[in-house]
């Protein structure tokens, strides 16, 4: 007897259909699994045999061969257990094989026959819909997540027994209700209303959020750089449903999330010891890195100068392209990485430059520090802002703004941008304007043109710096609700820019 059932392997964050075929014929009782499985797949033989028997079914006392097709795809992990078990049951006539053809099955089995939580159910559900299957059997824990995909029925089962019942039509499958949108997550986000003082960083956060500009916060230890960065997601626009599903899928695959739709923008703050593979994804099997986990959210790199150079350099392509290509052997994986980068750094090795006379760093120290920071990553930073210790009276004063108010401004500014950029597919916000687009979309008034021209003439700006100033000035005007960029916008952007090596350098 032959039976076949669909399941899915997760490749990066994408589902790849895998057909589990089971053939039973007379011979000495054996159970072999072929089809390029890893150790976890080979071990599933024993899990499947025990689970089948412990669920009250009979494991066929004959020659059982299971094949995972396509044979060229490397299969990883225990997610094929349930599909294998059901295919064995179908091939031995214990469940109806024709029903199984319309189902996709996903989940790990315990020896007792329970379906265990397995990461990536959302991606599997998407794959099942794309493959034109009617229903997906998933573990109960993952049902809400899988149900986010429209156009496919989800059968949430707790055990192999229950799954067999669903196939026989005996037991009505437990369909989860519509995924309750977890609004609670936005409420627990830290709010800008907690911040006292910090007028400049608050402004910079709003500009960054409004224009999608990458931001570098500089300041002595303990001034509140991390505190401020954590509040950036709270003023970003809400995720659209499509974005939310994308984010949920990534986090589900990575196993950092269980159940329901993620509605809050992710905030990822990896420790500075992270490897390049950890940051952009990789490993064996390739897994999404922090850059992908921060997709549609904020990637925060605290103590930027402490990160390994190789890790930071690896961020280049993700920043440029919004996705990262990971090539392993003959296969290439694409992981989405469209995030806002916020980095924090001490201004100098001792951290106290700009605080009274406390800094004792010399030219060499500063140069070394700058070199650690410099490079392609800094080129992408449109904004550089110093976070100073708030004054005592500021600590006693009421907060300057709240996330709700700031977000309103940000949303209005984003709307203006979208109205203007409509049709320019290459850019979704000012931060993504390249020089060609900037020339078309950034309209300066006369005084602004003069101010920018003067800055460039006097060598205060490099060509790249000029371009950054244009982008940021555009966002400042958007925040204020103006179509034309004024001289004040340009000058503000000049003050907020990150100075690259070619401009205003120290003694040669």
């Amino acid at each position: 007897m032959l039976a076949q059932v669909a399941t899915f392997a997760i490749d990066g964050v994408d589902p790849r259909p895998v057909w589990v075929e089971v053939d039973i014929r007379s011979g000495l009782p054996t159970f072999t699994i072929v089809g390029l499985g890893d150790t976890a797949v080979r071990e599933s033989r024993d899990r499947v045999r025990a689970a089948v028997q412990n669920s009250g079914f009979k494991f066929p006392q004959s020659r059982v061969t299971a094949n995972l097709a396509p044979a060229s795809l490397r299969k990883v992990g225990p997610g094929f257990d349930a599909a294998l078990a059901l295919a064995v049951l179908a091939a031995s006539g214990q469940v109806p094989a024709e029903a199984l053809a319309r189902y996709a099955v996903y989940g790990e089995l315990s020896l007792g026959g329970e379906l265990r939580d397995s990461p990536g159910a959302l991606a599997v559900a998407e794959g099942a819909r794309r493959a034109g299957l009617e229903r997906l059997i998933v573990p109960v824990e993952r049902a809400r997540e899988a149900a986010l995909v429209e156009g496919i029925g989800i059968a949430a089962v707790a055990s192999l027994r229950e799954a067999a019942g669903v196939l026989s039509g005996r037991e009505p499958s437990r369909l989860p209700g519509p995924a309750s949108v977890a609004a609670a997550s936005t409420r627990t986000q830290p709010d800008l209303g907690d911040v006292r003082g910090h007028e400049l960083p608050l402004l910079a956060l709003q500009i960054a959020a409004a224009g999608g500009h990458h931001l570098l916060l500089e300041g002595a230890p303990g001034t509140g750089k991390t505190m401020l960065a954590r509040r950036l997601p709270s003023i970003l626009p809400e995720l659209t449903r499509a974005q939310a599903i994308e984010v949920t899928r990534i986090h589900s695959v990575a196993g950092t999330h269980a159940g329901g739709l993620i509605t809050a923008r992710p905030f990822r703050a990896p420790h500075h010891t992270i490897s390049a593979a950890g940051l952009v994804g990789g490993g064996r099997p390739p897994r999404p890195g922090e850059a992908s986990l921060a997709h549609h959210g904020v990637l925060f790199l605290d103590e930027l100068s402490e990160f390994q150079r190789t890790s930071l350099d690896a961020l280049r392509q993700p920043l440029e392209d919004g996705h990262v290509m990971i090539v392993r052997g003959q296969r290439a994986l694409e992981l989405p990485t469209r995030f806002m980068l916020v980095a924090a750094s001490n201004p100098c090795p001792c951290g106290f430059a700009g605080v009274g006379d406390r800094c004792g760093c010399g030219e060499v120290d500063l140069r070394r520090h700058r070199r650690r920071l410099s490079g392609p990553l800094l080129d992408r930073m449109d904004l550089l802002v110093t976070v100073e210790r708030p004054a005592e009276y500021e600590l006693r004063a009421p907060p300057l703004t709240t996330s709700a108010r700031a977000r309103e401004r940000v949303l209005a500014a984003r709307q203006r941008q979208q109205g203007r950029l409509d049709g320019a597919a290459a850019a979704a916000c000012n931060g993504e304007l390249d020089s060609r687009l900037a020339g078309r979309h950034v309209r300066l008034d006369r005084a602004a043109e003069l101010a920018l021209g003067a800055a460039y003439e006097r060598n205060a700006l490099s060509a790249r710096g000029r371009h950054r100033v244009l982008r940021v000035a555009r966002t400042i005007a958007d925040l204020d609700g103006r179509d034309r960029v004024s001289a004040a916008d340009v000058l503000m952007a000049v003050s907020l820019r990150h100075r690259d090596g070619a401009e205003g350098a120290l003694a040669a």
Binding site: F352, V364, E388, A391, V494, S495, A507
Partner: protein
């Protein structure tokens, strides 16, 4: 073995004589031993005055037989060829063109190796030369003063001499180059390559219009003793030595001490009495060094009061009245944004004003978001 240099045997112009080349080789050969001798409390200037044979006897120690053997079979032709290969020209102390001021130094360098042209070097040090020296870890203020002083003196046509060290030295060189002035860098290692290596860009700019010199042959490494030895050349080459920011027992004070011994003018830029960075300079002032506030003070010291004036430089446009206020605030110590905002000035006003000042070259943003007022030359 030969003793004192013999003028008769001096080679042709533009090439050092054999004895001097050998002497210069000897200094490099005894490189490590000099440091030992210094640690044993030997006074370098006295050692430098010794003729070759006695120098070996005094310094070489256990290495003496080997050094003597190598000394005897020294090949001057090969040494000269090495200089040519490294692209440095030489002038030795037997040469009548040898800088007169330098000849007065204690143990004048036998050979000066010049990168950038021997004739240019001679012309530069024949003119009025001022050395500007100071701390490697200068403050933003000190660096700015060094830069501006170099700029003004360069514009006034003086040669600025320094050691191309990090900090004040480099700032002085850079300032001079900004005013299209020529500058001489005296290096503690071979003249054919920059020391410190991180200053290679500055080194290239210096030898485009000025020169880099060293008393050590090409390929020599720096040693502890080569720094004070280099300082004595800086002091001896210049009519006046100006110290900007020196801690107590700083190398810059050695330069000043040599200048004092030679009867040259010494100037120091006053600093805050509470700052360790200014302890050395303030000490010089207390002991009679001239107060140097700007280039005019230097010119007055060399040429007499009011004889030469500092030419006006284009130091950026004039400042509007609204910005004057902001500039004064920065100058007055409210040099971070936090200190500037408030009391009637909004964040936006401060940001735009600072940008305007930065653009017209009146202030510069330093690490940590601190603004420094640039001195207009």
């Amino acid at each position: 073995m030969t003793g004192a240099p013999d003028p008769e045997r001096c080679a042709t112009r533009a090439r050092a004589c054999e004895d001097c080349l050998r002497r210069s080789w000897l200094l490099a050969r005894l490189g490590a031993q000099f440091d030992f001798a210094r640690r044993r409390g030997r006074d370098l200037p006295l050692v430098f005055d010794l003729p070759d044979a006695r120098l070996i006897g005094a310094i070489a120690g256990a290495a003496r037989p080997a050094v003597e053997r190598e000394y005897d079979c020294f090949d001057a032709q090969a040494a000269a060829a090495r200089c040519i290969a490294a692209g440095v020209e030489t002038i030795c102390r037997c040469d009548p063109e040898y800088p007169r001021r330098l000849a007065a130094a204690p143990g004048p360098p036998a050979v000066l190796h010049v990168a950038g042209g021997r004739d240019r070097f001679l012309a530069l040090v024949a003119a009025d030369a001022v050395s500007i020296v100071g701390a490697r870890r200068g403050s933003p203020y000190g660096l700015e003063v060094a830069r501006s002083l170099g700029r003004s003196l360069g514009a006034a046509g003086l040669t600025v001499i320094s050691g191309m060290a990090l900090g004040i030295d480099s700032a002085a060189h850079a300032g001079t180059l900004e005013a299209s002035g020529a500058t001489v860098a005296v290096l503690p290692a071979g003249a054919e390559r920059p020391y410190p290596a991180s200053k290679r860009a500055l080194y290239r700019r210096i030898i485009r219009s000025g020169v880099a010199v060293s008393e050590l042959p090409p390929g020599s490494a720096s040693r502890r003793w080569t720094f004070p030895a280099r300082n004595r050349i800086i002091a001896a080459l210049s009519a006046m030595t100006v110290v900007i920011e020196a801690r107590e027992r700083s190398g810059s004070l050695i330069t000043a001490a040599v200048a004092e011994d030679l009867g040259r003018e010494i100037g120091a830029v006053p600093g805050r009495v509470t700052s360790a960075l200014s302890a050395g300079t303030n000490d010089l002032l207390a002991h009679g060094a001239r107060v140097v506030r700007d280039a005019r003070d230097v010119l007055d010291a060399i040429f007499g009061a009011g004889v030469r004036t500092v030419p006006a430089l284009d130091g950026g446009g004039s400042v509007r009245a609204e910005l004057r206020d902001l500039l004064d605030a920065v100058d007055g110590g409210s040099d971070t944004l936090g200190a500037l905002v408030g009391s009637g000035r909004s964040l936006e006003q401060a940001l735009t004003g600072l940008a305007e000042l930065e653009v017209c070259g009146r202030i510069r943003r330093e690490a940590g978001g601190r603004y420094v007022v640039l001195i207009r030359a």
